[in-house]
Symmetry: D3
Subunit: 116 residues, 6 copies
């Protein structure tokens, strides 16, 4: 199983488990999370770049993977993505480098999967 | 080996290794760590909830697992735990979601282990 | 004007300004923020302690002040509060000390105000 | 002196002081900082939004003010800015709220200054 | 009153207030804090540099001021200090710049005070 | 394959991949990263200790491993390393403990590898 498939399978399974708790706070946060990234004054594409750079400087690999996947789905180019990586490494420092290594590996995995 | 057993085995082995360094600072921190979570003005149970929410917003999976295990041992209910998760996700943001996925998986693993 | 009055005046004024943006995401977050700290499986009092310790390890002075005020309103005792400070300083490290200095100053200001 | 003028005066004075140290690492970081936010695969405008959201989730008021000023200079609208605030509060949590209060105050100060 | 005097006066007053709580956890942390920075396998001087860089990447202005003062007392040179600043800005990112501005201002204030 | 070999192989492979993006910001950051840790007013050895403690309080396992390896190469003793661990755990809090477990495991792996 590719790392992309594995990531999505675990993510989906556990999100269901979390929502099954019926905790109101978490349900609402998931709901806001969904609507926030939709087209508004800023297009969904820009919002995913914003979600990505925020995830990178906060150094959450799973959040990075999620937003990279959304960027991929919305047609972000490699050059655009690398510039987001650049800003994340600049603002967040070299502490972001290891996360950038895993981020680009996931980006490559998304392309590899498509070509299978 | 279940993730619970694996977590505890590694934790115990490496804690012994760390204490074997005889570094005074670390020894004292381990000592304070032990006494702080005992019954005081606040009951141990509430203190473990506090340790858990702190670990969640700081996003340390191993610390989360440790405190979840202590919560389990002290009879915290699932509903109570989910409310701690809710506060952690609210204060700490969606960046806490991936840690919540792994947290609830560990909580379920603790219950599964008991039923073996 | 006491630091308590000043804190609340600025907080209230700017919260109104923020909500006047009518940004859906922020409106919903403010709404969840309100409901989350109400009585549930855990009493409101415990939830405020959780919000406080989370704010302390994330080192946000204004969030600390807000939750300290709520703790005060809900009858949390000084001994209970100090134990929350203890856990925050233990989990979050000595980097939390300066925030603890300002936290206890605010706690004392709340009591001083009452006695005016 | 308005908060905008004060912010820029201090920032400029101390940046000069820092560069006068002739520390090579810092000089290079300042240099990269300058070139990174220029038009590339992504326009400068989008890059400033990225710098802003990164500063917000990392909760650095001065960095937020700097990027808000750049956003203002590049014609970002209030609705666009509020959506960046929304994403920052969602990803970073309610711990970002106090920084959002000061951010919007600075945004308003920029407009007020123009109208003087 | 210079910013150095003001910093130390508030710090001392509130540390006394905190210790007056007699909270065991906090008392012990203050105690470990004192002994850790003394000469050991590493000299006190190097340990203060370590405390400083840790405070910078965690972005705590008061902690930075405290360690800068200790560095000053132990004869750290400006060139050495600037190299610590360099590493902090590199590892921690440009988000550390505003803290570096205030750090060098405090370093200069320490020298100015001496020359009074 | 030992964890040391595995760590270095992945690190090297992905660093090459990252530099192949030819993103100017990232290239420059990698370049500054290389020059910053060389002998200057502070010896390279002290700088690696600084890089290590910064990585520990920011809790980045890969960064910790990298700097531990450099410390090992530059002849840092175990007692010196443990004192860095002590400061990191003190300043950063018990949240650093799990990273200390993995850090000392890597330090031991470096020694084991040498003796093979």
């Amino acid at each position: 199983m590719s790392q992309v498939t594995e990531f999505n399978a675990y993510r989906e399974k556990m999100n269901e488990r979390i929502l099954a708790t019926k905790n109101k706070t978490i349900q609402k946060i998931y709901n806001v999370d969904h609507t926030t990234y939709q087209d508004g004054a800023l297009p969904a594409r820009t919002k995913e770049l914003l979600g990505l750079v925020a995830s990178m400087v906060l150094r959450c690999d799973d959040c990075i993977r999620y937003h990279i996947q959304e960027c991929y789905r919305l047609g972000v180019t490699s050059e655009e993505l690398y510039e987001v990586f650049g800003i994340a490494n600049l603002v967040g420092g070299t502490i972001v480098i290891p996360h950038t290594r895993r981020a680009i590996e996931f980006w490559d995995a998304l392309h590899a999967e498509e070509n299978d």
